[in-house]
Amino acid sequence: MADISLPQAKAGRRVSGLVLLMLGIAAFLAIFLLIPAGTVIYVAFTEKGTGAFTLVNFVDFFSNDLFKRSFANSLYVSAMSVVWASIFALPLAVITTRFEFRGSVLIQTLGFLPLIMPPFVGAVAMQLLFGRNGTVNLLLEQNFGIRLPFMEGLNGVIFVQSLHYFPFILINVSNSLRQIDSSMEEAAQNLGSSGFRLFRKIVFPLAMPGYLAGAALVFVKVFDDLATPLLLNVKDMLAPQAYLRVTSIGLTDPMGYVIASILIAVSIFAMWGSVAIMKGRDYSTVQRGGGGLARRKLNRGEAVLAYGVVGLVLLLVLSPHIGLLLLSFATIWSFSPMPDGYTLAHYGRVIGESSIYIRNTLVYASTAGLIDVVIGGGIAYLVLRTKLFGRQWLDWAASAALAVPGVVLGIGYLRTFYDVTLPDGTPLATLPIMVILALAIRRLPYALRAVFAAMQQISVSLEEAAENLGANKSRTVRRIVLPLMLGGLLAGFVTSFATAAVELSATLMLIQSTSEAPIAYGLYMFMQSPAGRGPGAALGVIAVILVAVCTFVSHIVIERSQKSLGMKK
């Protein structure tokens, strides 16, 4: 947290400390995001062959039917995914935070699992369950003679994406709900408000920062995601179009980079939009503690309903993991509702080499998550608590990382850091720290949004009070801001950590040897052959369990810290 603790009391030095913090973050973003991505993206502004500066590629983009259609499709799919993700996430968030509900922590953890589905295996598992000849459709066909196109076309993408990314909403809304002080609710109840009106007028507005943060992330992530559309063979969306063009052999086609630029612009616009909605509204509360909203007891009927809803949503969102688990034990699974037979051999094959992957994954993802929370906390503090010129740009620059395709960042790192060598001639780009930094940059927007939402909920008057009582800035941050934000910081860390643990696209460019490879890379090596599907799935299961355990532990820490805060009061 070194970046957040600020120098001593006097006003002048305080400002210069903040300026230093800002310059430090700006330098970090410039060196590890803007410059590397810029070395690749600038191709969008050059003429093919000559390399001369031109804007004609953007004219071409908007006069090409395929690109226009892709643009419209991407917007539609992203918006619909936000709608469906909200439908999955809100019941889980409300039920587990507002009611006395057994297994809340477990559900919060399970609800988080979809985010940590490693590449390839998730889609394979989904196809085996929901594909045209997957389990569900084969059973429907046998019993009722019908098939449902779950996984076809744009609707298939919406289906998979909303299952995949709804945890962004879940985690942020849950955290917001926990931060709401029960006295707000009690006050409303005393004034005669109850039931849905209470929810609409008090709870929902107070949870708004969290919801918007989550919804913006879902929108941008779906807009920029290329893996899911490609695996469902939907190519007329923007991110797949960019990817298909950037990664073709021997072609230097500027259009791929034009699309990447447009992806970045839309992402920043969406992030700006979610902030603009919040502008002029203050959702912070002064009161803290009490461990969030009062939890109501459920009566019998409500309990049945609540467990039913939670069970149904969990079954749906965990179906890829169920499929993955089956695949990891399956001998052969082909055109049949269930595998032909079961075996432990796949685990036997990966168990020997998985320890090195696990260690690397833990080191990379946790370091990346830590960097993200520190940088994200710094940016959130600068944007929300200072009036420094250009602070908003830090936020936008960091959010732009969401839209930089992983492969572009990977190539950019090679281009920027390969010729910088250590004294013995080892290129900087080949060090594992580069993989960590690439992961940190890729996941920074997640942590940033979570930390941002947490800080928005803290009333600045608490800090003012502390300062009036003689605490300096750094002491205020340490004693007031950080403890109150702990939940948000942990939420940010967990999101960064868990998603970084299964990232592949940027790392594929940067990994130099198997001994440095994380789990996702090992998975990739297995999943390229028919005999490797089972071992790949086994490795996927290990990855999911690993990250789930870490997530579970941090949820318990969040719960504990909430409780201890309440106790102190």
């Binding site: 062959g49 004609v56 039917d65 460019m509 130099q512 001994s515």
Partner: protein, 435 residues
């Protein structure tokens, strides 16, 4: 955390300096292929370790381009010959002569090694069709034998292929069909098959994956995908059609390798009988390039140097292929991949009309059907234009380009879209006449 990070960094530094006998290979091959070969190589060359860096073919090429200033890679190892041609053109490959005797000059009609000694074939691959037997049985579909068979209505919505712009091996399949059937005839065949596509995947492995898991019935693939899936127990089979070609899968030494001796040792090992025998591993199932090992081949694996079917396989003009490769890819993408729904609708209508026309002697309807097929088959670019500088340069960034790539693509897409819509109308009109 910081400690282990530091330890990791230090370990990495040590590993790059201390182990001079490390041979680093960038490859697109899966772990199933590289693990047995790595084990065999290290056993026969004590003191050497093979460091495998797995990247997709295109990432591998980009990686070598970006890291050339301080190259740390000894070898590039992949299927697609076009990737090697790209690397050779960029001066990223190092010429060398392997010491293994008895490797033939050609396999099928393709040169085994690069004529200038920049890369070498280590295995042969033919292109064909694999299918899921359970899928075909359940849908009452016959196994295909020839490319032509795939145009039949029974395969509608059951066939899957990788986009040639994404998969070097599929590009060669498409080019083989174009050379075997001629430019116009080849495209007609491809589009008639294209109308039966269920998906066009963006990874080579997406095709066998769809067939193995039973999502699709028939896949157009490179042979070992079929053989290795079959050997791994999947209910699939594979056949070569008569118009196909066998081409070598390759390995080459990267320019300025950190361990040249190790790189050469690995190429020599891979081509030796010892190395070639590893290719028979059930999970690999590649056809060895060294004829000496075929007496030990597992059952069901063909011998491309003796079996009659390979002798009849067509010749393949590599120059023509590389000249027009970007044009062929873009044409395929713009008229098939990105127009798949329209093409499928047009072909579906034609197939319905053809089915209704059987036994009905209706000349007017038949003429409409023929017109519809003609519209689908029509091309915005003829064989001469496809290799003309004003079009090729639009893709390669040359000076004689008459238009920008994006403009040509838009033009071709509109051409295809209009034609498919008209073809659908004609076929529907024919059907109306027949019913």
């Amino acid at each position: 955390m910081k400690k282990s990070l530091l330890a990791l960094t230090v370990a990495t530094l040590l590993s790059t300096t201390a182990m001079a006998q490390q041979v680093t290979v960038v490859t697109s091959f899966s772990k199933d292929v590289t693990d047995p070969i790595k084990a065999a190589f290290e056993a026969s060359n004590p003191g050497m370790t093979l460091e495998v860096q797995n990247k997709s073919t295109s990432s591998g090429v980009v990686y070598l381009e970006e890291t050339r200033s301080n190259n740390q890679t000894d070898l590039f190892w992949a299927s697609a010959p076009d990737a090697f041609v790209t690397l050779k053109d960029q001066g990223l490959l190092y010429p060398f002569r392997p010491n293994v005797e008895g490797i033939p000059e050609t396999v099928g009609s393709y040169h085994v090694n690069d004529q200038d000694g920049y890369f070498f074939g280590f295995a042969a691959s033919g292109y064909g069709m694999m299918w899921n037997t359970r899928y075909l049985d359940a849908n009452g579909i016959e196994a295909p034998a020839e490319w032509d068979d795939l145009t039949e209505a029974q395969y509608h919505d059951h066939v899957v292929i990788a986009a040639p712009s994404r998969s070097g091996t599929t590009h060669l399949t498409v080019e083989t069909i174009l050379q075997g059937e001629g430019w116009d005839g080849g495209w007609k065949l491809l589009k008639l098959i294209g109308g039966n596509f269920q998906q066009v995947t963006d990874r080579s492995f997406g095709v066998p994956d769809a067939v193995n898991s039973g999502q699709a019935g028939v896949g157009i693939v490179i042979d070992f995908f079929g053989f290795s899936a079959r050997a791994s127990g999947f209910p699939v089979d594979f056949a070569y059609p008569s118009v196909t070609t066998v081409v070598p899968a390759n390995i080459g030494v990267v320019t300025n390798p950190p361990n040249l001796a190790g790189a050469e040792a690995f190429v020599n090992f891979l081509l030796s009988e010892e190395g070639q025998l590893v290719l028979f591993d059930p999970a690999i199932q590649r056809l060895p390039i060294n004829p000496a090992v075929y007496d030990r081949a597992p059952e069901g694996l063909p011998n491309p140097f003796e079996d009659a079917q390979f002798a009849s396989m067509m010749t393949f003009d590599g120059n023509l292929s590389s000249q027009r490769s970007a044009v062929v890819d873009a044409l395929f993408d713009q008229t098939i991949t990105f127009q798949l729904e329209n093409l499928r609708a047009a072909i579906g209508a034609i197939q319905a009309a053809e089915a209704a026309a059987i036994g009905m002697d209706n000349a007017e309807a038949q003429a409409l059907i023929d017109e519809a097929i003609g519209l689908v088959a029509a091309l915005p670019v003829d064989a001469t234009a496809a290799i003309s500088p004003d079009i090729v340069d639009a893709f390669e960034g040359g000076e004689q380009a008459s238009a920008r790539q994006s403009q040509l693509e838009q033009e071709w897409a509109t051409f295809a879209q209009t034609n498919y819509a008209q073809a659908k109308e004609k076929a529907e009109a024919a059907l109306a006449l027949l019913s």
